[in-house]
Amino acid sequence: MSAPDVVVAGLRKRFGATRALDGMSFTVRPGAVTGFVGPNGAGKSTTLRVVLGLDRPDEGEALVSGRPYRSLRRPLRHVGALLDAGALEPGRTARNHLLWLARCQGIAARRVDEVIALVGLSAVARRRAGGYSLGMRQRVGIAAALLGDPPVLLLDEPFNGMDPDGIIWTRTLLRSLAAEGRAVLVSSHLMGELEGMAGRVVVVGRGRVIADAAVADLLATLAGDRTVLRTAAPERAARVLGEAGGTVVRTGPDTLSVSGLPSERIIPVLTGSQVDFSELSAQRVSLEDVYLHLTRGQVEYEAEAPAGSTGTTEAAR
């Protein structure tokens, strides 16, 4: 494994009485998309601001390619960042926004047009940013992050306000950037957005890391696949599946939840014992489930859960 491009070590920071960062430590390695997830207020944006030298931590340090960000002379050539898609002067065009960024980094204007084309804004880049949708602003932010062709990309909530096409396009782009050997960190408060893209996730809550692992390993930490079975003879089905090695929980008058047996094996067991069933559905554990499992109790602002909405959480247990 190559050396990490971003090292976050023991960051602590208070804003008044609020403990925003409480020992945040993780690394971002090249060649992969790292998801950076956690509920709102978990310290994701604060961490990114500290990495970018914008906020000073009370304790700990963050290094980019082994150096503090503030010591970088043309930082956009080392790290591309999207912090806030709304951070555009409404009276300035996207092209001019990217142009001043290019000027201060000694990047040629030609590169500005390249990244505009790359993010698909060529048609509107000479219009004032005040009229852009949030999705277009996100693309401007991604273009700005790519301007210096940096080995490290830090994107805070890049999917916010994007339409489905935009989300798919962004995922594809980030995957290909990682495939080029770049370190890509994508923060999100929605784990689902990272599914199928992130090879690793850093799950944070209340200012510290809850889990930092490969996605495959994370999924495996939860008990195996579950299958929901609907049958007119639940007792008999439970008995034969139990004999076959499964763990069966009755979840309703005619429904069972089976774990420990892959669904491919459930069908021969049931048919061999001549148990009729009307529905058999495999329930895979999603990243969302893992995330919700991990962040239970870490949520900063948790509403009283409305009745009947806890199904997914229950399934993840």
Binding site: G53, P75, L76, A87, N96, R103, C104
Partner: protein, 523 residues
């Protein structure tokens, strides 16, 4: 600074310039400030108009130094060829002041003879001896005199002034004065008690013709009594007359004989006062060799303000005030807009060396303001001067360097104000607060100094950033001319570049605070 650092700062300035020029509203504000400044300047210059009788307006009298001068006095003299000496005994100096009760701006009506005035000598009434190149107004001269309340003085070429003994005349206590010419040099003496003739000073009047005019002179300047109230300056203003008696006049030189009094004639230099015929100078010679000479006017540099008959060059720059408000707003907003949009994070992430970001912003806003208002000021001055002259105004001539200083200084003042507002914007991060403080610090004092009594106005123009308006002062203060040298008259308490330095000090201090806060604060 290393080469790489210099390059990176140049890139940063380029980036900040790209930011400024790419927001159309900002660019329009800046251009509008320059255009409005020019238009209002020319319009206000066009409002200055001097009405003269059909014979035409008298031209400005210019002294040997190129400055506008007053040169009106009663001369009782004769030609003096080559080197020589003129001596006289001054036995009395009395006068008449304008009648009281005439309000400011309304001089004594011509119908009312000055004899209706009350006795009294104007403090700068002058009586003594003069050697002048000619009787033409504005001619080079040297004179020794008693100035009523200012003792014995030697003056030359309108601006030169050397104080002698603080004497006066009283019955039984006359004053003896002497002027000698040797080549171009004229030397003044006073007879001081038992110690004999004392030299007061000498002047080199280059170009003094072989035959100059030498004689007695009397003059008495405009009298003004100013009273300052808040928001209004009132006063009485009117011409005065001085009368001196002389005895034992002798003129010695080539071609003179005896006392050298042959060919002595009286002339009113500057002609009779058209508005006040009663003030026309006169002289009488009694048989015992004494002379009684009356005169009105002054031999001195012209001064501006309400007493002055002309307008100054800075009257062509009245529109700078509109530009001031615009550039303060622009300077503040160019900083606060980044905070409002969160763009400051993008800026500081791109350039972690925050002090340099501030420096680049200051350079860009300062240079842009300067570059646009400099031509505006230059056009205002050039066009405004033509307009003033076309309206028969008497424009005090000033040197090209002084004109250049007024133009460059005005643009510099606006650039300094813009940078000051930028620093306030970084400190406060909100445009409302930054613009308010900028306006209170720089714009409000402009209004205040015109409303406050002169003493308070002077302090406003010493301690506020507005002190920089002193770059627009073109006329020097002459201690030997007593007028209202107040800011409203165009005279500021600090020297031009000293006043500008006050603004620069404020701007530098604000930038320093902004730099510290920018470095210390989380973005």
């Amino acid at each position: 600074m290393s080469g790489e650092d210099r390059d990176s700062f140049a890139r940063l300035v380029w980036a900040e310039w790209t930011k400024l020029r790419s927001v159309r509203a900002w660019l329009i504000t800046l251009i509008a400030a320059a255009v409005t400044m020019t238009v209002f300047s020319v319009l206000s210059a066009a409002g200055e108009r001097r009405n003269c009788d059909p014979a035409g307006c008298p031209a400005v009298v210019v002294g040997p130094g190129g400055e506008a001068v007053a040169d009106s006095y009663e001369l009782v003299g004769r030609p003096l060829t080559g080197n020589g000496t003129i001596t006289v005994e001054l036995t009395s100096l009395t006068g008449l002041l304008p009648p009281p009760g005439h309000s400011f701006g309304q001089p004594v009506p011509p119908a009312e003879p000055l004899s209706a005035g009350h006795p009294g000598v104007e403090p700068w009434a002058k009586a003594g001896l003069i050697i002048t190149a000619s009787t033409r107004q504005g001619a080079p001269y040297a004179a020794v005199m008693l100035a009523a309340d200012h003792g014995v003085r030697f003056q030359d070429d309108y601006t030169g002034d050397i104080a002698g003994p603080d004497d006066t005349v009283a019955p039984g206590s006359p004053l003896w004065l002497r002027l000698t010419r040797a080549g171009d040099a004229v030397t003044a003496y006073v007879l001081a008690g038992r110690s004999g003739w004392t030299r007061i000073g000498a002047a080199d009047l280059s170009g003094l013709p072989a035959t100059a005019e030498a004689g007695l002179f009397v003059t008495s300047p405009q009298d003004s009594q100013m009273t300052d109230h808040p928001f209004v300056t009132s006063g009485a203003d009117g011409p005065s007359l001085a009368t001196a008696t002389f005895a034992h006049l002798t003129v010695h030189g080539a071609g003179t004989d005896g006392d050298g009094l042959s060919g002595l004639t009286g002339r009113t230099i500057g002609g009779p006062n058209g508005d006040y015929p009663a003030l026309t100078g006169s002289y009488t010679s009694s048989g015992d060799g004494s002379y009684r000479v009356s005169g009105s006017g002054d031999i001195a540099p012209e001064v501006g303000g309400v007493e002055g008959s002309g307008v100054t060059i800075d009257d062509t720059l009245g529109g700078w005030f509109f530009a001031l408000i615009a550039v303060i707003a622009l300077g503040a907003v160019s900083a606060t807009a980044e905070y409002r949009r969160g763009l400051i994070r993008t800026t500081l992430a791109a350039t972690p060396r925050r002090g340099r970001v501030l420096a680049a912003k200051a350079v860009v806003i300062g240079v842009s303001t300067f570059a646009l208002t400099l031509p505006a000021a230059a056009i205002s001055l050039i066009v405004g001067k033509r307009v003033l002259l076309a309206n028969h105004n008497l424009v005090y001539p000033v040197g090209t360097l002084t004109e250049a200083r007024v133009v460059v200084g005005t643009a510099g003042l606006l650039a300094g104000a813009a940078v000051f507002a930028l620093a306030l914007g970084v400190i406060l991060r909100r445009s409302s607060g930054a613009i308010t403080i900028g306006v209170v610090a720089i714009v409000l004092p402009v209004l205040l100094f015109q409303a406050l009594p002169a003493g308070a106005a002077d302090w406003v123009l010493r301690v506020t950033p507005t002190a920089a308006v002193s770059v627009q002062q073109t006329l020097p203060v002459y201690p030997q001319v007593a007028v209202d040298y107040s800011p409203t008259a165009g005279y500021f308490p600090l020297a031009p570049w000293a006043g500008f330095a006050v603004l620069c000090a404020y701007t530098a201090a604000a930038l320093a605070v902004a730099a510290v806060l920018l470095r210390r604060r989380d973005a």
